[in-house]
Symmetry: C2
Subunit: 350 residues, 2 copies
């Protein structure tokens, strides 16, 4: 049994295209932590594939599961040596946590935000929620400001678990903000905060599977969203952002994870973006860090996990993607309500 | 005259597809610095287009050229206000300079490298050279190590103005390094250093327009290169790296600038990469910082510059791109010696 064999088995079990390198990444990750959620995070591989390879390694006597999580057997240690696997070694900047930008200039807005978000609605599985750390939310703003996408501009936020709309409002950089959101708890919360702090923000109830409302088409300079990661859903959600933009030169920000999207699928996602007339100008790994959410044991991911241990740090991360419209392409704005676009073999947290 | 008009004029003069947003970026940059080279750097736009828009703005009485560089007229200040242009505001992390990684763990190797590179051959225009700061070279290694691309691996360096081969050798992370280089001064230098410091490095004379030598095909885990930026040349040079890789899961690192490639062209470059079976996993803006080179006044860029002032800081930067092979695609390894693949309307430093 070598890495190639393991990759084939994983592909057979999960339908996720894998090669020896993907296996290697999981092994490098488990040399750094025995916690299952850490291993997913450090491997940059889709959770169902990580679960499948760990179960297979256990059957082969290379790892075993304990209350500590995933541990190497003696046989496993020899395997690691023979296959020349090294522990993953991160050199991420301790100051910006690998995000490229710092939020120092937003201290005042950040202070207000930190207090405001204490009363935020909790994430619920019904809306496929899960929100990022306040640092992440503000880092997005620092990044967008560094790219000239905010000052004097109009911003559209498509789904706002992360309260990007509020943070944008508090920094006072954009001219106005429209938030579209399905969860009335978030709409009420953002409206209340907006009126209390006099933010130029309007939060509207809207199901993103529905076409973008006529009056919002072609109106914005920048959009933020956090799309589901099937090729079809990402294409559709980013497409909603694009039809909301004024046109050439408009920009969009969203995350893509490795936990739900293999490198193989990433390429397909990138193709879909380019086909929409977009250029990808930035991809910043592990930029978005999600708070551990309360419904962890209700997810498919929990069933898949070979050891039922809770995450012990924020493990769910995504790369920050910035796109910009460089070619005018007709982007559809169709109704997707009756299509199942949310699930593929790589998803596990919805 | 508005931003759209200016964009059309630039496209007519330079053949570079531009829109109002591109114009805006130049204006935002000139609100931050009057130095022409800074304006190119901060605008993230191709130098010939920046030069063309500045000349047009001068004809319109919006800017004027002085010994300080590019300055706004009174009319220009009103234009800026009417068009709602804001100065570009960077939040780049002061610790890693926006690179996401730090080189703290390589202090010893870096110290040796800093001394070694004092004797390096100077960049010459004949070989389209220009090399990065020592910090940049080591940051590349920190990034590649953070992605698991070095330990126990074989590295191929295609063209090595930047002395990546030496830095890799000094860190002791990879198993071995092959450098292909046209400039015999660099080959001699690297061979001498390799033998003096017992580095596992071989530097071979090779013209990258020629096919990769048979014995190097399918041999490496990772490649580094610094390709010219026409679509054809980037495709060909990255292709050389790809045919040097063992196959699926192999990784490549290279830079793409904004000074030589518009966002419009970036999209075409990205399409070419995806078509080679690669996924783009990272794009880190301004990661690679080049030392100002001595032949600045021999470049086309100097002729294009509307003011003949020297750069007063390192202005030439590129985004770091990491790609990984996720699909086996037949990549050609053909001879390009007799084709002019180095120039397009956006190039100016070759």
């Amino acid at each position: 049994m070598n890495k190639d064999d393991l990759a084939s088995i994983v592909t057979k079990i999960t339908n996720i295209p894998w090669n020896a390198r993907n296996v290697e990444r999981v092994l490098s990750a488990l040399l750094v932590s025995s916690n299952f959620w850490d291993i997913v995070s450090f491997s940059f591989e889709p959770l169902p594939a990580v679960a499948a390879v760990l179960r297979t390694l256990a059957e082969e006597g290379i790892v075993f599961f304990s209350e500590l999580g995933v541990e190497l057997t003696d046989r496993g240690r020899r395997f690691i040596e023979r296959e020349k696997i090294f522990p993953l070694h991160s050199h991420a900047c301790p100051r910006c946590e690998g995000r490229t930008v710092v939020i120092d200039e937003f201290q005042e807005a950040f202070g207000k935000f930190a207090k405001i978000q204490l009363d935020r609605p909790e994430a619920i599985i019904k809306f496929d929620q899960g929100y990022v750390t306040p640092d992440t939310t503000f880092a997005r703003i620092a990044l967008a400001d560094s790219r000239g996408d905010l000052r004097g501009k109009r911003a559209l936020v498509l789904g706002d678990d992360d309260l990007v709309g509020i943070a944008l409002g508090l920094t006072g950089l954009v001219e106005d903000i429209v938030v579209l959101e399905l969860d009335e708890r978030i709409i009420d919360f953002e409206q209340r905060v907006a009126s209390q702090y006099s933010l130029p923000l309007k939060a509207l109830k809207h199901d993103l599977r529905k076409p973008l409302p006529e009056e919002l088409l072609g109106s914005f300079d920048v959009f933020f969203c956090d799309p589901p990661e099937t090729v079809e859903a990402l294409d559709a959600f980013v497409g909603r952002g694009v039809v909301g933009l004024k046109g050439l030169g408009g920009a969009g920000y969203f995350g893509i994870t490795h936990a739900e999207s293999s490198f193989y699928k990433w390429r397909l996602l990138e193709m879909a973006l380019l086909q929409r007339g977009l250029v990808i100008s930035d991809i910043i790994t592990d930029f978005n860090v999600y708070m551990n959410w309360e419904y962890v044991d209700e997810m498919l991911a929990w069933d898949l996990a070979p050891v039922k241990q809770p995450p012990h740090r924020n493990w769910y991360k995504s790369s920050m993607i910035r796109v910009e419209v460089v070619e005018k392409v007709e982007v559809p704005n169709e109704d997707l309500t009756d299509r199942d676009i949310y699930n593929d073999p790589e998803s596990s947290t919805t």
